[in-house]
Symmetry: C2
Subunit: 216 residues, 2 copies
């Protein structure tokens, strides 16, 4: 399934849970389309690809939709992640309640100098030396990278060797996995989601400037 | 130009600056492709679309590339942004040096309760009541939204009415602009980049789980 579809499923799932809390039992493709800014036809296509059927009059039954989506997204699995780099961004994520509400548990933070990390909360902050043992023992598969640029590649390799296969990378380095590299002694494939905050903001400026130019 | 191309240009720009600092004068499509995990052919296509030509032996001249990309991305413009919502995520962005290094200046933070904001730094933290005047006076066009879910839509409308047209949204609500809405008294179009941290991490779990299932 391509990334866009998977992202939409996550978003449908979040919305359905909220509709349910509000007391709804059924939902129409128009409701979901409106809320996410996509066409109702796309919503119906997503669901029909998953063999979920609704009907024109009654719409979709919310509980059935949630169950079907959970089966696909693996919501039944425990979602434990580690954060490597407990500076500004890393510590903010560790304190951000939104992840916990969505069933994502940060089990540990790692830092080169754990004693200097400002975060004071319940999540343990450990040194980078403990990373490999911890991840292997707890069988963590997903990690967030929020270290400075110069440390990113080394941390990435360390995490791969410890068994992480899914990465959310906030460092400004575009991380990628080189299959021909001799660094990694396995045949795994990796899922890397690079979010470069400067690039995201620059992107907005490009559109804003191109629009402003139109009128000047 | 589509979003993917614009994002790549930003990334080329960042890399070229670094190559330059290292003393390089020329660069090959293979260098850029390797660093970003794309094919050299795509790099060449991006540049040829921009009427930038290199040659097989000598590659591209870095200074010329930077100048050409800057013209397109509008790097010459001042990049001032505001952050609305100075909680964990907002405050982390305000303290994050990476943005400043890339020429993005956060000129103010806004919060419902500015007196309770933990951030202590040089960027002024103002109340939401000051938002409209400030943005209009300074002619800010790009803003980051990092408020809780329930406040997101109201803040979005407030920012639109103040003149913001580019949005980076970290709140868990999928913000979108409804052209038929009566709320907005203008005919502008808006650029909204929604980053939902839970959805990004869920997405990794989907791939990780589907991969783990393969072998079980």
């Amino acid at each position: 399934m391509n990334r866009e579809v998977v992202l939409r499923l996550s978003k449908y799932r979040r919305l359905l849970q909220k509709f349910k809390i509000l007391g709804l039992e059924r939902v129409f493709s128009n409701n979901l389309g409106d809320a996410l800014g996509v066409t109702p036809a796309l919503v119906r296509k997503d669901f029909s690809n998953l063999k979920i059927t609704g009907n024109k009059r009654g719409g979709y039954i919310i509980d059935e939709l949630i169950t079907s989506i959970d089966l696909i997204l693996g919501k039944h699995n425990l979602r434990e992640v580690v954060i490597v780099g407990c500076g500004k961004i890393g510590a903010a994520l560790m304190q951000y309640k939104g992840l916990e509400r969505d069933g994502i548990k940060i089990v540990a933070g790692f830092d080169l100098k754990p004693e200097k990390v400002f975060y004071k909360g319940e999540i343990p902050v450990l040194g980078l030396d403990d990373l490999e043992n911890f991840i292997k023992k707890k069988q963590i598969k997903v990690g967030v990278i929020s270290v400075p640029e110069l440390a990113a590649t080394a941390v990435f390799e360390k995490m791969i060797n410890a068994g992480i296969i899914g990465f959310l990378n906030f460092s400004p380095v575009e991380l990628k996995y080189n299959k021909d590299s001799q660094i990694f002694d396995n045949n795994n494939s990796y899922f890397i989601n690079n979010i470069n905050l400067s690039v995201e903001i620059e992107n907005l400026f490009y559109y804003v400037n191109s629009k402003t130019d139109e009128f000047s």
